[in-house]
């Protein structure tokens, strides 16, 4: 039976997303148990020069699918290429990042290959001849251990759940010619929010809730900037139209896992907690001492956020200065 692990990477604007290194390191751990080679899959257009970076995280082999049709990183082209790379490498496990693209690729690949899939995992291990993954369910209120029976087993890892660990791999590059005849999507436009740190990838998130009282998030933005973090919003703030849906942290928004999460004027509804419970350290600032969030944080300040938050920003600047 095949024991190889195929780690599917993702490039954006010519650079690997950090999740790709996390995925390769996860693959390396699995490969150490299964005994198989760790194979990195690199897909894109003009990506030859990037491929060898995967060896810095332990890739023994690197399959490169370099094709003009992959330049936009669209799901349908990536799925076709990925399926061909799976065929080439015949892995026991496919590991991929559970990014917007990765989720699409993993889901369609599972149907194409009739393969078991565990989505948005926070841990994974090889246990005998099956793969066991740990994944949140019910908006993160539950952690489930699931077994995947079948080959390949597809595991999509939640960004920031696993560490990227430097390790030297042999990194033998093999170019794979892929055919993308069946592509069905056309990219019409792409709008990236430049200068904004993506919430799900941020080390620090500062969120404004109903307590912000309006769409003036300047104090929250200033604190996020001082900390090099991203700005989030609670559902209340989004429903009020103060912030865009893409800023929402919560069960029906984004799930974040930063090192530091600062909730400003957020009451702490169950669904909001579901979106930030994996944060390493949680700070709550709210003028209501009874706010539920105070029972779900590490540190809290009871007070007016419009005084506290700027004071925090000033203290952070002092640290840096």
């Amino acid at each position: 039976m095949s024991q190889g692990i195929l780690a599917i990477t993702e490039l954006v604007d010519g650079a690997f997303k950090h999740i790709s290194f996390e995925v390769i390191s996860t693959g390396k751990r699995l490969a150490q148990t299964t005994g198989g080679p760790l194979i990195a899959a690199v897909m894109g257009a003009g990506v030859d020069a990037m491929a060898s970076q995967t060896a810095e995280y332990g890739a023994d082999r690197i399959l490169v699918a370099d094709h003009e049709g992959l330049k936009d990183g669209l799901a349908d082209a990536c799925i076709q290429a990925a399926a061909q790379l799976v065929k080439t490498s015949d892995p026991a496990v496919v590991v991929i990042g559970a990014t917007a693209l990765g989720k699409d690729v993993a889901a369609r690949l599972s149907a194409r290959l009739n393969a078991p899939l565990a989505m948005d995992c926070v841990d994974v291990r090889a246990d005998g001849d099956r793969i066991v993954a740990t994944r949140p369910m019910y908006g993160g209120k539950v952690l489930a251990e699931v077994s995947l029976n079948g080959s390949p087993a597809i595991v999509a890892m939640r960004p920031r759940a696993m560490e990227a660990v430097a390790a030297q791999g042999a990194g033998e590059v093999e170019k794979v010619a892929v055919s993308l005849d069946g592509t069905t999507l056309r990219l019409v436009e792409k709008h990236m929010e430049t200068g904004k740190i993506e919430l799900t990838e941020a080390d620090v998130v500062v969120t404004g809730g109903r307590g912000m009282g309006g769409d003036d998030f300047a104090v929250v933005e200033a604190l996020a900037k001082a900390l090099g973090g991203a700005v989030g919003a609670s559902r209340s703030a989004v429903d009020e139209g103060w912030r865009p849906v893409s800023d929402q942290v919560g069960q029906t928004g984004k799930v974040v896992a930063p090192n530091l999460y600062i909730a400003c004027g957020v009451s702490g509804a169950i669904q909001h907690l579901a979106g930030m419970a994996s944060s390493r350290v949680v700070v709550a600032i709210n003028k209501d001492p009874e706010a539920p969030i105070f029972s779900k944080c590490d540190f809290g300040i009871v007070g007016d956020l419009f005084e506290i938050v700027p004071a925090l920003t000033a203290e952070i600047e002092k640290l840096k200065g």
């Binding site: 669209l74 349908d76 559970a98 990014t99 917007a100 699409d104 889901a107 369609r108 599972s110 149907a111 194409r112 009739n114 393969a115 078991p116 899939l117 565990a118 989505m119 949140p136 019910y138 993160g140 209120k141 539950v142 952690l143 489930a144 699931v146 077994s147 995947l148 029976n149 069905t184 999507l185 990219l187 019409v188 792409k190 709008h191 990236m192 929010e193 990838e201 849906v245 893409s246 069960q251 090192n259 509804a269 169950i270 669904q271 001492p289 105070f294 029972s295 779900k296 944080c297 590490d298 540190f299 300040i301 007016d304 005084e307 506290i308 004071a311 000033a314 203290e315 952070i316 640290l319």
Partner: protein, 256 residues
Amino acid sequence: MEIAVLLKQVPATESMIEISDDGTAIKTEGINWVMNPYDEMAVEEALQIRADTGGTVTVFSLGPEKAVEALRTALAMGADTAVRIDPEGKPLDGLATAKVLAGELKKGTFDLIVGGHRAVDDDNFQVGPAVAELMGIPHISMVIKQDMADGKIRCTRTIDGGTLVLEATLPALITTQRGLNEPRYASLPGIMKAKKKPIDTRLLSETGTDPGEPKVKTLAMRLPPQRKGGRIVEGESAGDKAAALVKALREEAKVL
């Protein structure tokens, strides 16, 4: 335009979840079951499209008897017919669910299939794209805006850090994301009309689709580590509190 909507009945997001005694599932007593919020958006979008183009909206759900409630809600919102596939107690993982739904969808000729990007219980993000793969049609997930013209659908979808506008030829499948629409409430006349609309019940064993044994099995469920109440940082002034917090974050939490 013939539109199919995929919907699932799930525990409401404000539900307190407890693990069953055998540790492999959640306790279902006392849970408030609702239509998956993203599927509500799917029904709404289908109804808006039908208002433009004419045609029919058929809602499909793979679920036990209780799921009829969610189907009735969809009918009350304005869907034309509903199909419930009864799993007959058989355990089904995401891929198996997709196989069964695809099998039923192939029995019709739908121009567009609309589903939620995920169900808020399983959080698999799987069924929509997997159904599209099994049907050999394109899909676009996390759609926040769509338009159709000349046999094509053009969608704005969210990705990490931005949006893409993508175009696909119909038939296609799209999944909804928050921001696409605000689902309507079922009106009283709608609820009354819904009582006369047909719900076609099909037993899994009669569908002709054999999903096989589930390849993904839940071994155990546990509650994640719960953060206990935090330490309230005191101080005379905002500045004092801020300074004390930063000190704690540096020296105790070691996060700064």
